[in-house]
């Protein structure tokens, strides 16, 4: 492509979208009138613009809008953002902890209205008084209280932490999510162990954190509602509660739960959970 040809292409692009300067526009139009191949190329440019105009109607999904709102809530207002990085990190940390607490509270409120309770659906441990998936998920939204488990030295693709011999996955090399901490809770008399994961090298840990909970003992009843999703032969149930997304499935007879606030999509949770 010679220089004149490139110049003409640049002019045709601007002519098509109406941004060519008036003087150049008249000159370019005269050239187009004289050369049918230029008229053809101009028409092609306008065809493309017509197609591209139609994508303006595409809106971001509600889950993304929610996650942006969630990110905003976990970020201090500009006036209070200090110049010193240490101060900023502290503020973000506190804001993140508050946001995590707020998310857990939102989920707690949501589950009182959306959790069908232990009696819903089939399940070996759905007796009265036992934990439910959403109560376990609520625990998995809490702050980290234990250090991140290390990768297993003996089993590739696993962390050196498990619940009833069900190991937590190591996702850092394969999927780019690293273990960032852990916690253990007792929910309605059942132990719930959680490992937290954050994007490897990613920012905003408060909003992009996933809790991977495994409930000790027999599997809990699958909650009602939400969506049933199948991936790689595994059946998942995905639910939204407050601004949290909950994905649950069974591994080796145990209930596993991935829970994240709005900053992580259901598709991402399924992709991670499918990678064993």
């Amino acid at each position: 492509m010679d220089r004149d040809g490139a110049d003409m292409q640049a002019k045709l692009a601007a002519l098509a979208d109406g941004t060519l300067a008036p003087g150049e526009r008249e000159q370019a139009l005269r050239q187009v009138d004289r050369q049918p191949e230029l008229a053809d190329e101009l028409r092609t440019q306008r065809d493309a613009l017509s197609v591209l105009a139609s994508v303006e109607s595409v809106r971001a999904p509600e889950s993304l809008h929610r996650s942006v709102e969630s990110l905003m809530r976990s970020t201090p207002a500009p006036a209070s953002r200090g110049r010193r990085s240490r101060r900023l990190r502290l503020q973000v940390g506190v804001a993140g902890a508050l946001a995590a607490a707020a998310a857990a509270a939102a989920l707690a409120i949501a589950l009182t209205s959306s959790d069908p309770g232990p009696g819903s659906g089939p399940g070996p441990s759905s007796g009265p008084g036992g934990p439910t998936v959403l109560r376990a998920a609520e625990a998995a939204l809490g702050p980290s209280t234990l250090p991140a488990p290390a990768p297993s030295r003996t089993r590739r693709g696993e962390l050196a932490r498990s619940m009833d011999s069900v190991a937590y996955p190591y996702w850092q090399d394969s999927l780019g999510w690293r273990a960032s901490g852990a916690r253990t809770d007792s929910v309605d008399g059942r132990q719930v162990s959680t490992v937290f994961y954050v994007p490897d090298g990613g920012a905003g840990p408060a909003s992009r954190r996933i809790g991977y909970a495994i409930v000790a003992g027999d599997a809990l009843a699958m909650p009602a509602g939400g969506r049933m999703i199948e991936s790689h032969g595994i059946r998942f149930r995905a639910l939204h509660a407050g601004d949290a997304t909950v994905l649950t499935w069974r591994r080796a007879g145990h209930t596993c739960i991935l829970v994240a606030r709005g900053g992580v999509s259901t598709a991402t949770l399924v992709r991670l959970a499918s990678w064993e």
């Binding site: 492509m1 110049d7 292409q9 640049a10 002019k11 692009a13 601007a14 979208d17 190329e41 092609t44 440019q45 065809d47 493309a48 613009l49 197609v51 591209l52 139609s54 994508v55 109607s57 595409v58 809106r59 971001a60 999904p61 993304l64 809008h65 996650s67 942006v68 709102e69 990110l71 905003m72 970020t75 207002a77 500009p78 953002r81 990085s85 900023l88 973000v92 090399d173 394969s174 780019g176 994007p199 490897d200 090298g201 990613g202 920012a203 905003g204 909003s207 992009r208 009602a224 969506r227 049933m228 999703i229 199948e230 991936s231 149930r237 900053g263 999509s265 991402t268 399924v270 992709r271």
Partner: protein
């Protein structure tokens, strides 16, 4: 010197999402890319250095995309090839035919070479001026305009089913590469009961 107002981000979400979808070729990856971009931008105060907010965010989106891709390329490849089965996106539009058309347009943009794709996204999807787009993409205005011309030409021809003309194949100075790799997995969604 102006700084980016974090409170302004929500009003750019739709536009950035469209740009990210065109960049990645996948809705789910687009959602993640926008989240990651915003999380990165919000991590500390950002000086706009005379740029328009949208131009700044376009640059941030591109940088985050490139970083994600570099990181992904260092990871082991997925051993199995999985096919993504997407449900109709009722969130983007209520009309299935329109949704299918949108998917095709975004998928076609994602097959453009990266320089052409970025030029098209910056100007025609995000709505930056040629100068703003050139600044955001660290290139010259003239180069950007030529890339834009070629991107539109290829998009129009691909969508109309027309084969690329031989002249294009030899005159392009930029190597054509396949689009963004699609993160893929098999997924079937049913209504829960």
């Amino acid at each position: 010197m102006g700084t980016l107002d974090p409170q302004s981000l929500p009003r750019h979400t739709d536009r950035l999402y469209r740009a990210a979808w065109a960049l990645c070729g996948s809705r789910e990856d687009a959602e993640d890319l926008v989240q990651e971009t915003f999380a990165h931008v919000l991590a500390r105060p950002r000086s706009l250095r005379g740029q328009d907010e949208l131009a700044y965010l376009m640059r941030a989106l591109r940088n985050t995309f490139l970083t994600q891709r570099r990181t992904a390329s260092r990871r082991p490849k997925v051993a199995t090839t999985l096919e993504e089965v997407e449900p109709v996106d009722h969130r983007a539009t209520n009309r299935p035919e329109e949704a299918a058309q949108m998917h095709e347009v975004f998928a076609t943009i994602a097959t453009l070479s990266e320089p052409q794709r970025l030029a098209l996204i910056a100007v025609d999807v995000v709505g930056l001026s040629y100068r703003e787009a050139a600044d955001a993409l660290d290139t010259r205005e003239q180069t950007l305009a030529v890339r834009l011309f070629r991107a539109r030409e290829r998009l129009a021809r691909e969508l109309s089913g027309e084969q690329r003309r031989p002249r294009d194949a030899t005159s392009r100075g930029e190597k054509e590469s396949s689009g963004a790799e699609k993160a893929s997995y098999s997924m079937v969604v049913r209504d829960g009961s």
